[in-house]
């Protein structure tokens, strides 16, 4: 009982910091649409959005470097000190992103500064997760490692949920216009308060008992990088962890939680408020299953649960996304023609007094309660020649039934995530010896999640956009090829190479 109380306080202190780091990291992705209008030139909105996604992805790409740098430090000087540094680095970078003037004020310095701070965020996160997972695992009883580390596993999803909730609250409080003008900066500023609180909580934590033991015995690694990756025996497990587990886990995590959000909002055009709440409710309902599957993995093994999660996701993604698309798509809905409302407004263009923008807002109502708003902006020159805009902004407000259908479909997808992600911290910790654990487990985790997973929204959005412009009839499903192929390869490797009962730490 006393032991459990001790672990609980360790879990709370570790998880809170990790949760804040995930919040910091995902706030950027959750605000991608607004950020693309603030920090990038608006001559081509699609390119601006893709550039934002690429900047978002840059943070993921450097995660493995953070894993190497901080993982090495964690194995050399201890877990606790290292993840204190990563926490401060992350908090500072996030706060500063909220302070950068926009593109119209400082030009190309704006995206450059965003990119630099985003890279620092990625480095910090690369060091944080492995430290927190290792720290908790090294405090946990061997037979309950899956259960206790699964609390750390909830933090990524809860961090995403928290970022969406903070955005929702601020957007509702300020109103859409003020939020898009300056209010989007507040979620970045809030981070610094949370980081300070977390820093003081972590400050009082003690070093992991396993690390303290190997330190007192003098068996700490002198060169963790060399021992992790220069030693063939260990390196083959790093490769196995990557290709047999984290690669598939990464693409499933980012498809089910990030691409799903981009699919509903950007591909299908659902209004951002509904998109955010659909995601938030789906995430909230599924989050307890991280603990369920983490705990279950202590009893029946990590491999079975993780592989089943990957298989279910790979098989179910196309049917789920088809259902999501048809639920939202207005093409087969019956329009109430007499309620159709078209408003045309003319507004002058700055510094071009004879030219103007014609904004046509069309509101369409359907008999099932769905509403659709189409906004088209055409340029009208002084000689009345019209340059039509090909980008029509579509905003769909769903009826109640369709809204909850989408919540359910998100919930199912996050359930797959909980199966794969819940047990994976314990799985990775158990693969490597304590003296090089921080370094060895961090790299495959962050390549799987940072590179394979983090690049997924950019790659999938690109595949969808290209398929749509090529008039592919299944264009909206094209983004799924990436997670399906990567997930399938990972499933095959995992099934063949992972040991079903290998729950012992190799010391």
């Amino acid at each position: 009982m006393k032991r459990n109380k001790g672990i609980r306080s360790i879990i709370i202190a570790s998880s809170l910091g990790t949760l804040i780091e995930w919040y910091d990291f995902y706030i950027f992705g959750s605000l991608a649409v607004v950020i693309s209008t603030k920090f990038f030139p608006q001559s081509n909105p699609t390119a601006a959005f893709l550039s934002t996604l690429a900047t978002f992805a840059a943070g993921f790409v450097v995660r493995p470097f953070g894993a190497l740098f901080f993982g090495r430090l964690g194995d050399l000087i201890g877990r606790r000190y290292t993840f204190m540094v990563t926490l401060l680095l992350m908090g500072g970078s996030t706060f500063l992103i909220g302070c950068i003037p926009d593109y119209s004020t400082i030009g190309f310095m704006a995206p450059l500064l965003v990119l630099i701070l985003r890279l620092l965020q990625g480095l910090a996160l690369g060091g944080e997760y492995g430290g927190a997972a290792t720290y908790v695992a090294e405090h946990s009883p061997t037979k309950e490692r899956g259960y206790w580390t699964s609390w750390i596993q909830t933090t990524a999803t809860v961090g995403l949920f928290l970022s969406l909730s903070v955005i929702l609250i601020i957007r509702n409080t300020l109103g859409v216009e003020r939020f898009e003008d300056w209010g989007w900066r507040i979620p970045f500023w809030i981070s610094i308060i949370m980081v300070i609180i977390s820093f003081f909580i972590r400050k009082n934590m003690e070093e992991s008992p396993v690390y303290t033991k190997i330190k007192s015995e003098g068996t700490i690694s002198k060169n963790p990088l060399k021992e992790s990756f220069g030693n063939k025996y260990n390196f083959k497990f790093v490769l196995l962890a990557l290709f047999g587990a984290t690669m598939g886990q990464g693409v499933i995590w980012y498809t089910s939680q990030f691409y799903a959000m981009s699919f509903i909002g950007k591909v299908c055009g659902v209004v951002s408020q509904q998109t955010d709440t659909i995601m938030a409710i789906g995430l909230l309902l599924a989050t307890p299953f991280f603990i369920v599957f983490g705990g279950l993995s202590d009893k029946i093994g990590r491999k079975k649960i993780m592989m089943l999660g990957i298989l279910l996701a790979v098989v179910a993604y196309r049917p789920i996304y088809t259902e999501m698309f048809t639920t939202i798509d207005c093409a087969h809905k019956t329009e109430i023609t007499k309620q159709k409302n078209v408003v045309i407004k003319m507004s002058a263009i700055n510094k071009r007094p004879f030219d103007s923008i014609s904004t046509t807002t069309t509101k369409i109502f359907f008999d099932d309660g769905t509403k659709m708003e189409l906004i088209k902006k055409d340029t009208v020159f002084k000689n009345n020649i019209i340059k039509p805009c090909n980008d029509v902004k579509k905003s769909i407000t769903l009826n109640n039934k369709n809204y909850w259908t989408l919540v359910f479909l998100i919930f199912i997808q996050v359930l797959f995530v909980t199966m794969v992600y819940g047990p994976i911290a314990a799985f990775l910790v158990e693969m490597f010896p304590a003296k090089i654990r921080y370094t060895s487990m961090s790299l495959p985790y962050h390549i799987g999640n940072g590179i394979f997973g983090g690049l997924l929204p950019t790659v999938a959005t690109y595949l969808v956009t290209t398929a749509k412009s090529n008039n592919n009839p299944d264009w909206y499903l094209n983004g799924l090829w990436y997670p399906i192929i990567v997930g399938s390869i990972c499933f095959l490797i995992g099934m063949i190479f992972l040991d079903k009962n290998d729950n012992k730490i190799k010391e």
């Binding site: 390119a47 992805a57 063939k232 083959k236 196995l240 990557l242 290709f243 590179i451 394979f452 790659v459």
Partner: protein
């Protein structure tokens, strides 16, 4: 299972080569030549990030598998 592990090494090497060819010749070089910004971003991600990790990693993994490094006796 041991022989499946070993000979599947050939499969991983073949998959690595296939992905390498597809990523460079179909989803890589043509994207640099299209002149569109979105193609360029995708091409850079594909050629400089995904392809080296997938191809390099899978080739080494396949080689290790083929050499029997993942057999029970070597664990």
């Amino acid at each position: 299972m041991e022989s499946i592990k070993k000979y599947s090494g050939i499969l991983w090497i073949l998959i690595a080569l296939l992905i390498g060819y597809f990523n460079i010749m179909v989803m890589g070089i043509p994207k640099f030549q299209s002149g569109k910004q979105e193609d360029l971003v995708f091409g850079i991600i594909n050629i400089f990030l995904l392809t080296p990790i997938i191809v390099g990693g899978l080739l080494v993994f396949g080689y290790y598998a083929l050499k029997g490094e993942y057999s029970q006796e070597k664990k």
